[in-house]
Amino acid sequence: MIVPRAHLVPHVFDRAKLEGKPTRMGYGEGLVSAADENKNIVALCADLTESTQTHHFQKKYPDRFVEMGVAEQNLASVASGMAAMGKIPFIASYAMFSPGRNWEQIRTTICYNEQNVKVVGAHAGVSVGPDGATHQAIEDIAIMRVIPHMVVLSPCDALEAKKATIAAARFLGPVYIRFHREKTPVFTTEETPFEIGKAEIFFEPSGEPDVAIIAMGPLVHNALLAAEALAKEGVGVRVINSPSVKPLDGMIVEKAARDAGCIVTVEEHQIAGGLGSAVAEFLSSIYPVPIEFIGMRDRFGESGEPDELVEYFGMGVLSIQEVVRKVMKRKK
């Protein structure tokens, strides 16, 4: 059942009744809210102002917006310079190009310099859809979370995306936030807790959990649907939303391992270096349990409809159920 503290929407299991909204729109709204409360916030964009939803900010605060053109390396380092002068720059592009193309600039000029820059990667994951593999960022979490000082966030719906944007603005230091292109269900509410460094249990079985799913991004909703279906088979699943990939919520992850004895991680990202890796790195030295990883298995995406691709690459509801049964068999 849904944990009351999570304050999810009613009818959370009925996708037809849920509002569909891209997480990038949460960024657009969050950026304006954050800018309303702090005049030092500026926004820079690399020729994707409407697509990344930065245009709302641009319209309201034209004097605090800088159009960068298609120049992602410059985007990162100009932001570093502005931060050195006390600004709080949000830099937006598609995740494939920022942080994809400008990794070293983010590492050296933002993180090593400890500059207060927020890197916004839109169009993450294979759910970008028809544009195909060149525009589907599935390595961004890996390359961001290895950089010292960088915080990495992956919100699960548009509302959480808005909260993550506002939280990033208030946080002192570099933050990477990934957003998605397609409409996905809005299933959290204003009351759903969000905090950098914290995960939240969204779904808990009536008894002790047999498996814990740790997920991030819009796939958290798929994990909820899988947990609900498995409950009907008598399999107890705990579903944890872990938007803060770094810092990871070690308390909740360790407790999940101890309570359930096995874990499935779910992410629209390469299984190498993503959320699953972070969970495995953490647990292997604290409390090792069997883990199965759902995500991209060392391959590129391709063109297709978003849902079709998510299914094809094994991140759909049925696939998650299958992997849950598999990991349970590995429990001692």
Partner: protein
């Protein structure tokens, strides 16, 4: 018209020589590092820290200071030496260059040494940062100047041109870039490795005001900076023609001295074990003009 009196020029000349000797001493102590670039830029750094910059060595975080961004971080021995002589930290500390625990990292780090505006080393990103600072400075109507020191080799990097394009569009009058046009990079002469000419025309086409100067002529450097500050509708690009290794005859104009300290350079003129003492002797006697060493 000259902005410097004869006394000021003589003072800068003496300081630059002290800075050069400190560069060699710190490189000898470090046992690794770059020689040619730092020596070639000693006159410009001396002019910056002893004449141009509005700064406070005893209060490096003073908000009203001009900002000096060094983009090609590998020539940091010259920045460290100029800063030490200007009073940012004890000259003795220069001997910790590149050592474990030192504030003088092999490539400069702003979190280690107060007065360093930005960490640098990976080439091609300094101009972007200076452009960002200048844009922010203009947003806040700050009456300060942003100086960016770059190398010619790093102009191979596309990012430098991304930044140049943006600065031109933004008409950043508060930004002055000085390029160390010493015409060498690690693999050889710049015009062989990747030709940059016509450099003046390229920058003019990008919307910059361009000035060529002899990078070892103090008056010319100061004149160019003052002109850059007076040009109100464009960023300024000062092409400082410098001699790599300037002041030590066996290092001058040799790209082989780009990445080596005294004691590890080519042996065509001076054997390795004599390179350090010979370099210091030349600097202390002003290239043999005076017969006994002066400190």
């Amino acid at each position: 018209m000259a902005y410097l009196t004869d006394e000021q020029t003589a003072y800068l000349s003496k300081k630059a020589n002290e800075v050069r000797a400190s560069i060699i001493e710190s490189l000898i102590a470090a046992g690794s590092g770059h020689s040619a670039g730092p020596l070639g830029m000693a006159d410009i750094f001396t002019v910056m820290y002893f004449h141009v910059l509005h700064h406070d060595p005893k209060n490096p975080g003073w908000e009203g200071r001009d900002r000096l961004v060094l983009s090609n971080g590998h020539i940091c021995p010259v920045q460290y030496a100029a800063m030490a002589h200007a009073g940012y930290f004890p000259i003795e500390e220069l001997k910790t260059l590149r050592k474990f625990g030192s504030r003088l990292q092999g490539h400069p780090h702003r979190k280690k040494l107060p007065g360093i505006e930005t960490s640098s080393g990976p080439l091609g990103s300094g101009l972007s940062q200076a452009v960002g600072m200048a844009i922010a400075g203009r947003m806040d109507k700050l009456d300060i100047f942003f100086y960016c020191l770059t190398s010619d080799g790093e102009h191979d990097a596309g990012q430098t041109w991304e930044a140049a394009m943006l600065a031109g569009r933004e008409k950043l009058w508060n930004l002055i870039q000085i390029i160390d046009r010493n015409s060498i990079q690690i693999d050889g002469f710049t015009e062989d490795v990747m030709p940059l000419e016509p450099l003046r025309e390229k920058y003019e086409a990008f919307g910059w005001h361009v000035i060529d100067v002899d990078g070892h002529n103090f008056e010319a450097i100061v004149d160019a900076v003052e002109q850059g500050k007076a040009v109100y509708e464009k960023p300024t690009f000062i092409i400082a023609h410098t001699i790599p290794g300037k002041g030590v005859d066996f290092m001058e104009r040799k790209f082989e001295w780009h990445g080596n300290p005294p004691g590890k350079g080519p042996e065509d003129r001076v054997p390795k074990d004599k390179q350090g003492t010979e370099a210091l002797r030349q600097l202390r006697t002003l290239g043999g003009k005076i017969r006994s060493e002066h400190e």
